[in-house]
């Protein structure tokens, strides 16, 4: 959840998406300005933080870069619980990853924080020749489901910072002052199983 001071706020942000969609690459590009062609699979979830300035306030993103592997799906709530924002990432050259992204959107709509800012990122936009998911299709889907959509490329850095800034821009509007403490980080829903197993 976003924690706002006067001009500074912390925002938990989670990245979700299929294996190999480029979640880690997006984060590494955003946080470290790096790109690795053969990024290793994430294990569990990696944590990053990065602060951005929006207008005259700053937003400190606490970013959970989750693993796309199937075995971690049932554990995803642990990471998106209480998140103020989510980026659902798919690979524009892989239709299955777009389908998977839609499932994540559904899950977040059902289980996530209702005020969550959701972004849909069509990653690997540099690979135009291999495109399998039309930009219009994703755009339409995003509009219908209350997300905003951008095509990104972690490789060329295209739109990477933009998507995070856009999220930062949208955050305060969605965070009315009624929840100033924002200490919901530890506030887990009771129905969540205590010890999750890999494939329950």
């Amino acid at each position: 959840m976003a924690t706002s001071g006067n001009k500074n706020m912390n925002a938990k942000l989670v990245l979700l998406g299929d294996v190999g969609a480029g979640k880690s690459s997006l984060v590494l590009r955003f946080v470290k300005g790096q790109f690795i062609e053969f990024q290793e699979s994430t294990i569990g979830a990696a944590f990053f933080s990065q602060t951005v300035a929006v207008n005259d306030a700053t937003v400190k993103f606490e970013i959970w870069d989750t693993a796309g592997q199937e075995r971690y799906h049932s554990l995803a709530p642990m990471y998106y619980r209480g998140a103020a924002a989510a980026i659902i990432v798919f690979d524009i050259t892989n239709q299955a990853s777009f389908d998977r992204a839609k499932k994540w959107v559904q899950e977040l709509q059902a289980q996530g924080n209702p005020n969550m800012v959701m972004a849909l990122a069509g990653n690997k936009a540099d690979l135009l020749d291999a495109r399998k998911v039309a930009a219009e299709e994703a755009q339409t889907y995003a509009q219908e489901n209350g997300l905003f959509f951008m095509e990104t490329s972690a490789k060329t850095a295209s739109n990477v910072n933009d998507i995070f800034y856009e999220i930062a821009n949208r955050l305060p509007r969605l965070q009315p002052a009624q929840n100033p403490s924002g200490m919901v980080l530890m506030d887990r829903p009771a129905q969540t199983p205590a010890s999750a197993s890999c494939c329950s």
Binding site: G44, A46, F47, Q69, R71, A196, S197, C198, C199
Partner: protein, 618 residues
């Protein structure tokens, strides 16, 4: 007493062979095909270590000197293995086609993929596929001439006629390079679905997996269990873990016990990633495909399998510590203890595969095998190096059913901190803990000392104190010298060439039984390349297996001489010592030297072991 190992091996073949039931025949066929491969592939790459493993022809076993307590201590690794096999021999009284029958219900999903559906073609498929694991044999055959030459010519034709030309891709069991691998590991489900293969593409090995499944379920249907099949130089070792089958096919001359332990570890690694609750998936759907659940973990398994040939922890069931001054390790332990008191289950600080310090919450104990699997998991997964991570992991010896949550952060290039907790909400707390720990470690220069120790390496045989007079003052003079560390697995350097220790001492390993820790000397000349190190490692492994053989052991001492080494093993209530000497070493001197090694270790034990707050009292 020459040649017992090889002789017994040869003796055994007739024993199995003439009993003329069909499995034996198919084993013969397998063996024949193996040989045929060696004929058709005479240029097979040489791997010296294994060839030499196979040659304890002039071994000389004695127990003597100050060590002698049990002169009967000798290796007899294989005979009981044969019993495993022969105990089920009654069940094997079928021909190949019948053998296929019990498997057909569950493997039906695969017969189709394989494109063969009638019984007889499947039966020949079994032979053909079982020969698939076959690795090269030609180069290491010099020791069992008779049995092998006798089968060599025959199957050459059969082999060529049976291998389907359509399968000649690189990634499956038909490829020559795949067959030439010396050591295969397979994991499959009890319906025959491939889960993991060390070499090749699991999915293309569906037919091969189905064959393995057929063999296992055939024996199981007879109310028995197959543990080992021996086919010429190859051993096929089976391990059944509920719905998951693990198989190792090896021609490395490692003992059955060693290979079985390796399969157990492989299974443990899988449990570490998935928990044992994965079994439920098979209860719901017997055809469940487990490969997606293990996506991206190939490197974890291949790194574990690699450790089987360099990391003594994989058979000693002990961990090793980074040599550090007592005060340094105490400083690290104190801050970890502090953290553990705040609700962390285990706090582990490691430098590569060596422990700097570790602490468990009250009554929580960590098994050395779990430590091996955990550190392997962390070190082999590149993603942990990128940032701090919070990941579910399961410690199979602690609780195979439940996930713990691991906070992992690298503090420098080699040193990493693992904090384990039962709470999935504890990330921010663990992150704060890490900040505190890191501060203290930097303040007390633990990280700097650890780096220095990594560079300096551990105990060197050259530094073995010469006599009792100098012992008292000989507290780790070696720890300050430059040289290569025993990280031979990934960065062997020739920078330091030792000359060997006194009395021809080349190397030693010492395992403290109470501490569950071992210490191993640096490699020195002439054991200074990877091949030789692997060979010595395998020799130790064999020695360990023979000393712990349940049928005849436990033993107290063993002295063995072959053309490669003198190996000396000494087991007491407190420790186990394994030492390798020059093959010409004098026995009495060697024994005396071992006593000095033990004394030396005792003198510096607070630098090389983690003492005191041991959570390992289990």
């Amino acid at each position: 007493m020459p040649s017992d190992a090889e002789l017994s091996d040869n003796d055994r073949k007739p024993k199995i062979g003439p009993s003329s039931n069909s499995i034996d025949q198919s084993l013969d066929a397998i063996e024949n095909q193996l040989s045929s491969i060696s004929v058709s592939q005479p240029e097979s790459e040489p791997e010296f270590d294994d060839a030499n493993d196979a040659s304890p022809s002039n071994q000389d076993k004695l127990a003597n000197g100050s060590l002698n307590e049990n002169p009967g201590a000798e290796e007899l690794p294989r005979s009981n293995v044969v019993e495993d096999f022969s105990s089920s021999s009654l069940m094997w009284r079928n021909n190949s086609e019948e053998m296929e029958a019990p498997s057909s219900p569950s493997s039906s999903g695969y017969a189709g993929e394989r494109g063969s559906s009638n019984a007889s073609s499947r039966a020949s498929g079994i032979e053909e596929e079982v020969d698939g694991e076959i690795l090269e044999i030609g180069n290491s055959d010099s020791f069992d001439g008779v049995s092998d030459s006798q089968v060599q010519w025959l199957p050459g034709k059969r082999h060529s006629s049976e291998v389907s030309p359509t399968e000649a891709t690189e990634k499956d069991d038909a490829s020559i390079s795949w067959r030439k691998r010396k050591k295969h590991f397979f994991v499959l489900s009890n319906s025959g679905k491939p889960i993991y293969s060390r070499y090749g593409d699991e999915h293309k090995l569906a037919g091969f997996s189905a064959t393995l499944q057929a063999i296992i379920s055939f024996v199981e249907n007879g109310g028995d269990r197959v543990n080992l099949v021996r086919a010429g130089k190859h051993q096929v070792v089976f391990l059944v873990k509920g719905p998951i089958y693990l198989v190792c096919i090896s021609c490395t001359e490692e003992s059955y016990q060693s290979l079985r332990v390796q399969l157990e570890l492989l299974y443990g690694q899988m449990i570490l990633i998935l928990t044992k609750s994965v079994n439920r998936c098979f209860e719901k759907n017997s055809k469940f495909d487990m490969t997606p659940l293990l996506g991206g973990t190939d490197v974890v398994f291949s790194s574990l399998i690699h450790s089987f040939s360099w990391n003594p922890a994989s058979f000693l069931h002990a961990y090793t510590c980074l040599p550090l001054a007592y005060a340094t390790r105490q400083a690290a332990g104190a801050i970890l203890q502090d953290v553990a008191d705040s609700g962390v289950l285990f706090a582990i600080l490691m430098c590569k595969h060596k422990v700097i310090s570790l602490v468990g919450a009250q009554k929580a104990s960590l098994h050395p095998d779990d430590m091996l699997l955990l550190s392997n998991f962390v070190m082999s997964s590149e993603s942990f190096r990128t940032s701090e991570s919070f990941s579910p992991i399961c410690l199979p010896r602690y609780n195979p059913m439940a996930f713990l949550h691991a906070y992992v952060q690298y503090l420098d290039v080699d040193t990493y901190l693992i904090l384990l907790t039962t709470s999935s909400d504890a990330f921010h707390h663990l992150k704060d803990c890490r900040v505190r720990i890191e501060e203290v470690l930097l303040e007390s220069n633990v990280l700097g000392e650890a780096q220095r120790s990594m560079v300096d390496g551990g105990m060197r045989v050259e530094d073995l104190p010469t006599d009792h007079g100098s012992l008292s003052g000989a507290v780790s003079p070696h720890l300050g010298q430059p040289g290569h560390t025993r990280e031979s697995s990934d960065r062997f350097s020739e920078a330091f060439i030792g000359v060997g220790g006194p009395a021809g001492l080349w190397h030693f390993m010492y395992r403290s039984i109470y501490l569950d820790q071992y210490v191993s000397s640096e490699f020195s000349s002439p054991v200074n390349n990877r091949q030789q190190q692997k060979r010595l490692y395998r020799a130790y492994q064999k020695l360990y297996a023979s000393m712990h053989d349940k049928g005849v052991g436990p033993h107290k001492t063993q002295f063995r001489r072959d053309e490669n080494y003198v190996l000396l093993c000494w087991v007491t209530q407190d420790f186990e010592l394994y030492a390798a000497f020059d093959p010409l070493a004098d026995k009495a001197l060697a024994i005396k030297t071992c006593n000095r090694v033990c004394q030396w270790i005792k003198n510096i034990e607070n630098e090389i072991f983690l003492l005191g707050v041991s959570p390992f009292s289990w």
